[in-house]
Amino acid sequence: MTTTKQPLSHLDWLESEAIYILREVAGQCSNPVLLFSGGKDSLCILRLAEKAFRPGRFPFPLMHIDTGHNYQEVIDFRDQRATELGERLIVRSVEDSMKRGTVVLKAADESRNKHQSVTLLEAIEEFGFDCCIGGARRDEEKARAKERIMSFRDEFGQWDPKNQRPELWSLYNARSHKGENIRAFPISNWTEMDVWQYIERENLALPSIYFAHQRDVVMRSGSIVPVNVPLVSGEVANPVKAGEDIINMQVRFRTVGDISCTAPVISDADTVSKIVLETATSTITERGATRLDDQTSDASMEQRKKEGYF
């Protein structure tokens, strides 16, 4: 009776779990959407969605909430990927919310990252989405360690840590009433290392800024800040300030977000396998050195999530 079976490798197991979660969303929700930024985590999810639903089409459109402060390479890559897949891409922009007056910046150079929440909620309402699939992972940040795979948000898009559904076995409950919303996280159980190993195994293409490249930066309060970054609009993000010395450095990005709050790391890793090795020996967490918006306080991610952030 007893046999020794070869268990799935951790990557196969994680892949299978993520496919299962994506199919649960498709089976339980009537109008889901997949949030796609062009970043590495969402590129993994696109690959997982192919494995989950091909030869059929995805049972959801893709959507990007564009801050207007994204790297051109990433935006181009986003569009190219959507075209290759033949799936519908919706783009909603923070700048439109600013025009409507629903997003008001305190300062012109303020990070627009947190304002994405407003635009996201407006888009959810516009399309009547009952579930947003995202690439968040539990290992990214302390406030995410207790996040559910299917996370419940009320009518105001708020995440109440005390009012989350118990999640047992793999019996996910993605039910919601009209106006409420589920955020589904298929790669919750992945670490940064798992993501890079999966990218390597599946041979996934990535935007070029993930790989080591030369870039003009300055040192600003202990972080490497890319400066004078040209934007799609013709403007320039992060203009160099008086008294700062521009250094041309070899860097790469570990996360890809709003230009004003995503810092690169010094690196000569120009291939995925070099990045896997670098990730294995890194002494700094992914968001630690590179997300300027997470460092404000011990609880800053938790605060943003309560306000509807992804």
Binding site: A52, T285, G288
Partner: protein, 432 residues
Amino acid sequence: MSNVTTQHNDSLLRFMTCGSVDDGKSTLIGRLLFDTKTILADTLTQMTRTSEKRGLTAVDLSLLTDGLQAEREQGITIDVAYRYFSTGTRKYIIADAPGHEQYTRNMVTAASTANLAIILIDARKGVLTQTRRHSYLAHLVGIPHIVVAVNKMDLVNYDQAIYDKICADYLVFANEIGLAQSKIEAGHDISFIPMSALNGDMLVDRLDNMPWYTGNTMIEILEATPPAHSEHDEPFRFPVQFVCRPHASDNHDLHDFRGFMGRIESGEISVGDAVTVLPNGYQSKVKAIQLGEDQLQSATTEQSVTLLLEDEIDTSRGDMIVKTYEANEPVKQIDAFVCWLSETPMSTARTYVIRHTTRESKAKVGAIHYKVDVNTLEEQASADLKMNDIARITFKLAQPLMIDSYSINRATGAFIVIDESTNNTVGAGMIV
């Protein structure tokens, strides 16, 4: 020990820790993450800063595991948190649940996905009421591998006699509740280990304070534990999640494509196997098994695949594909142990929704047979079920479910109870 790896073929183990902060549970997890070099420099810096702010002289490793602002304000852990580490040969997912009596539901939640439980005992205190509770719950939720960790050995001078006495006490109690017996019969196991999480004795490093203990260190036990589903043959169970019919596609080859998508919850399947689709009982054969672009000859437990059948059979989400010779009989009544999860007590007058695999049915309580006191394990008559209660209950179902006994198959023996007015998950059930 190093987490430096570029290997893609590590296996994966999910485990949980049972105990309260006083038992050193957070320190144990902190130590495992620290000694496997999972904690990186910036996290350590932040922990050092917080420790200093609180007036502590050493870095408090337990800071790693209390996450939310709401919890930090109250100084307690109120929810299950998941942690990750890797040893280079295996990836681990830890479910960290608070251990107090009022958090039975969190323990059950954490246990539901675990294949191993570490039950912490304070060497100065021995087997306590909470040890019994944790052991009972781990047993109820079907965790096959139990590790009894006698912690804080440094505070009892690493005395072997104290350790031996605690192990003997535990075995007496385990026999009382039938734990030891059933474990041995089902091929499950209980192991014992002395340790000091604070000092790091017997976790990742052996150190030299307990030369009398020659058994495995904690990490050796974790590394040697078989992953879920690897130890026994299990019947094939494939709940259908989604049906793929890309008939609107431009590709004419796909006009007749009908793929049944889902995850193999147990067992194995090969091309050519005779299958039955439940509850209707239609029979067919497996024509193809697909995973992404790959055509497979066979597939195994926990793989998410697409099955193509030889005959055109009307099948939808919630149906279950099984091998014809080991089909289970659909039932319209289930007898189960239920842990109530909601602040609103269960109502015997109301209709609930039961979700079992990918299938749902309306359900009403037929009878509450008895409630189990999780501390004394006594059975008591009860008319109601409140949060954190565990009771044996019969449910009457509107739709048939394809079940197995939970002790044989955790995936097809488990269900959740949903309150349709709030859509909340209010109960967790294990079918007898």
